[in-house]
């Protein structure tokens, strides 16, 4: 068998039999795993750099090294055949594929370039002041209602829904569809299990609503949506692509930030010492948010499809097979992180794969960080202590690590 070494020079080696490829017959999308994936992740990591998941015939990577390497390697692992379990080479996608998430170079280049500019740190500067003021207003309103509340509904959902749809420029009416649409979208990357069946009846209605919000005439004149359409006026993308690029904002920009904010709020409510640390040094807010994204990994998994036979360790992922990258497992891989299960503001979380890595890395990561900085900033100036007021309840989703509710009790300054 001929392989390529990392310089690309041909070397010849004898390929051992594949009999020792570790296998696992668990269902990564079963409710027991979704409730608590950590023991399952640890078993996968310890089984080897690649594990054959027999139930869905996919090749799983759970160690940081392989997850990171496959995320950046768009040449060997493509996205255009779908980033869920469904293989678009053989199955029809349930919606027109995303021009960003479900695309490869060269088709991916132009939409990504446009959206990177619209959501880049420099473009977000004009939103900063307004979002910080919005966060202060929201937190004041929540705290005024009493010392106990559900951090998911009151803050983690309320804040993105308050600022993000306005920033995109969609109308007020129908915004309650955003969370159900996102929940189904992220379920649909998994197998067609009960979670997908639960969302299926509303799919036609939600798809029609979402694409309706992406049209030029319903968008405000100054938002992200209008800027995407302006890029089509310049020919940087086509007018046919513009609504699908706007759709990417509405698909990937709401649930993900909701659950990331839930993650950081849960992390602080369950780690009072870390809250005191943030109180002492509020400039740690950005580090705290990324540490929470590492620790909880709101986006747990994504798939790719091998474009060639790819050797991983002693084994080969055959051309055309799906790989399943466990971002959450990589973010707690003790081979990469010291004491990985600790939520710790003294850690440098840089390099975590919670936002992915490489040319598909979350294009909205700066938006998410700005939302978190605004919300944590408003809280840290007002709240002396935050603690769990009851058991937090998980929300199960095939892709997202999410909370239904996080009851908290706070003490004001």
């Amino acid at each position: 068998v001929t392989t390529l070494d990392r310089e690309g020079a041909a070397v010849t080696a004898t390929l051992g039999t594949d009999t020792s490829l570790p296998t696992n017959d668990a269902d990564p999308f079963g409710h027991d795993v979704l409730e608590d994936p950590l023991p399952f992740h640890a078993a996968l990591r310890d089984a080897g750099p690649v594990v054959h998941m027999t139930r869905h015939d996919v090749y799983a990577f759970a160690r940081y090294e392989q997850v990171h390497a496959s995320l950046v390697n768009w040449q060997y692992f493509q996205s255009a055949a779908g980033v869920g379990l469904s293989n678009f080479r053989y199955e029809k996608p349930w919606r027109p594929p995303s021009l960003l998430l479900e695309a490869d170079p060269p088709g991916h280049d132009a939409p990504r370039r446009v959206l990177s500019r619209v959501l880049g740190p420099r473009a977000l500067r004009r939103l900063r002041e307004g979002w910080f003021a919005d966060a202060e207003a929201l937190v004041d309103q929540v705290l005024a209602a009493g010392p106990e509340f559900d951090a998911v509904g009151a803050l983690a959902e309320a804040f993105p829904l308050r600022v993000f749809p306005d920033a995109v420029g969609i109308p007020q009416e129908g915004r309650e569809n955003l969370l159900p649409y996102g929940d189904h979208l992220f379920n649909a990357f998994g197998p067609s299990n009960d979670l997908v069946a639960k969302g299926a009846p509303r799919v036609p209605e939600l798809l029609a609503w979402v694409i309706g919000q992406c049209q030029r005439d319903v968008l405000t004149g100054d938002g992200f949506g209008a800027q995407i359409w302006a890029a089509s006026d310049r020919g940087d993308i086509t007018p046919e692509q513009a609504p699908l690029v706007v759709r990417s904002l509405l698909s990937a920009g709401v649930d993900t930030t909701v659950h990331a904010l839930s993650a950081v709020l849960y992390a602080f409510a369950s780690h009072p010492d870390q809250w005191q640390r943030l109180r002492a040094q509020p400039s740690l807010a950005r580090v705290a948010f990324d540490e929470a994204v590492r620790w909880e990994s709101p986006v747990q998994t994504f798939f790719r499809t091998a474009t060639t036979d790819v050797r991983v360790g002693d084994h080969v992922v055959p051309d055309g097979k799906k790989i399943l990258m466990f971002l959450g497992a990589a973010n707690r891989d003790p081979r990469r992180w010291d004491d990985p299960d600790r939520f710790d503001l003294s850690r440098d979380p840089s390099g975590h794969v919670g936002f992915g890595m490489g040319l598909h890395q979350c294009v909205g990561q700066h938006v998410a960080r700005l939302e978190a900085e605004a919300l944590l900033g408003a809280l840290v100036r007002r709240v002396r202590t935050i603690e769990l007021a009851g058991p937090a309840k998980r929300h199960h989703n095939n892709t997202l690590r999410a909370w239904d509710s996080i009851p908290v009790r706070i003490e004001r300054d």
């Binding site: 390929l15 390497a69 950046v72 132009a110 420099r122 991983v312 390099g351």
Partner: protein, 330 residues
């Protein structure tokens, strides 16, 4: 053929990310009279930063000069960059240095890739290259071909022997017109471009008189139909330094020394100032830091020329200093 999934690029524990900003010359090949190609690779054999057709890199030569060269290799090979270099008599010595002094095995600094000349979606493309202006267009015609677009290339030069990549273009048959001036005269742009019409993008790269002629012919085309890239002269600004430099952290009130083998990000981290980063390759923009004084040596993929000239921010995971001292808002 089985391909091997190889390791991590620079975000693993303890990694030094600057590897992507210092590459080794692995090939130097004459491809036409006065034109050679350089191949560059990571000294540790790692993946290079991704790029798209139209992108260029800043090449920081061992003599301190910085020149920009379009990438003209294969982006499906993540380990190699290829650039074409014309020996320019009128240049300020950058190209002469590459032709005469630079050797296989030498290390060169690399900034970018950055892209001011991106290929946008279109049903039809008309490409016009003058001389070494063929370099950014070479990956573009391959991409247009891959996408199944209708495309043609008009490629002019003074003499056939000076015109690089004719062999590589031969596979495209009569989509490519090679027009040496001493044999065929000047390019017939009106005939090649035809009448203004929608659904066509014109990409032109070459010397200023050629671009002016293309712009004149395209003056009544729809807006944004024409995209051009001008040759840029040797970049102004102080030479890049290889000696250590100081970084003053204005808010913290400390000064740290950044030695050549460390990034600014690492040096400030060692001093206890935590700056969040992610890709550590100057791609994602997470570690953007406000510059209050001094002149950065930008090695990122993000800032365009105007943003660099503003001199107000830098990405400290890869970018360094041209001056003895930088003052950062940290």
């Amino acid at each position: 053929v089985v391909h091997t999934l190889t390791g991590v690029v620079g975000t693993e524990r303890g990694a030094v990310s600057a590897d992507v900003a210092m590459l080794r010359v692995t090939g130097k090949t004459p491809v036409a009279d006065d034109v050679l190609t350089l191949e560059l690779a990571s000294p540790s054999g790692l993946r290079l930063r991704d790029w798209a057709p139209g992108a260029h890199i800043d090449l920081v030569l061992p003599n301190g000069m910085t020149r920009q060269y379009s990438l003209c290799g294969d982006r499906w090979d993540p380990f190699t960059y290829r650039v074409g270099v014309l020996r320019e008599e009128a240049g300020r010595g950058g190209s002469a240095f590459v032709h005469e002094e630079l050797r296989v095995g030498d290390l060169v600094g690399v900034g970018g890739p950055r892209n001011n000349f991106a290929l946008v979606p279109s049903e039809q493309y008309l490409f016009v290259a003058g001389g070494i202006g063929i370099t950014p267009l070479l990956p573009m015609v391959r991409t247009a071909d891959l996408l199944g677009a209708d495309w043609r290339l008009l490629y002019g030069g003074r003499r056939r022997a000076h015109m690089a990549f004719r062999d590589e273009l031969a596979e495209f048959g009569d989509r490519v017109q090679v027009v040496p001036q001493d044999e065929c005269g000047l390019l017939d742009l009106p005939a090649f471009l035809g009448t203004p019409r929608p659904g066509v993008k014109v990409y032109a790269c070459g010397p200023a008189p050629l671009l002016a002629a293309v712009e004149a012919v395209c003056s009544d085309w729809p807006p944004h139909a024409l995209r051009t890239e001008r040759f840029v002269a040797d970049e102004l600004g102080g030479p890049v330094r290889t000696a250590p430099f100081e970084v003053e952290l204005a808010r913290t009130g400390r000064t740290v020394v950044v030695p050549p083998q460390k990034t600014v990000l690492e040096a400030v981290g060692d001093a206890g100032v935590e700056v969040l980063s992610s890709c550590r390759q100057g791609i994602c923009g997470t570690c953007e830091t406000t510059v209050l004084g001094g002149e950065p040596d930008h090695r990122d993929t993000l800032l365009d020329d105007a943003e660099r000239q503003a001199n107000d921010c830098m990405f400290i995971c890869v970018s360094r200093a041209r001056t003895d001292r930088l003052v950062l808002d940290l």
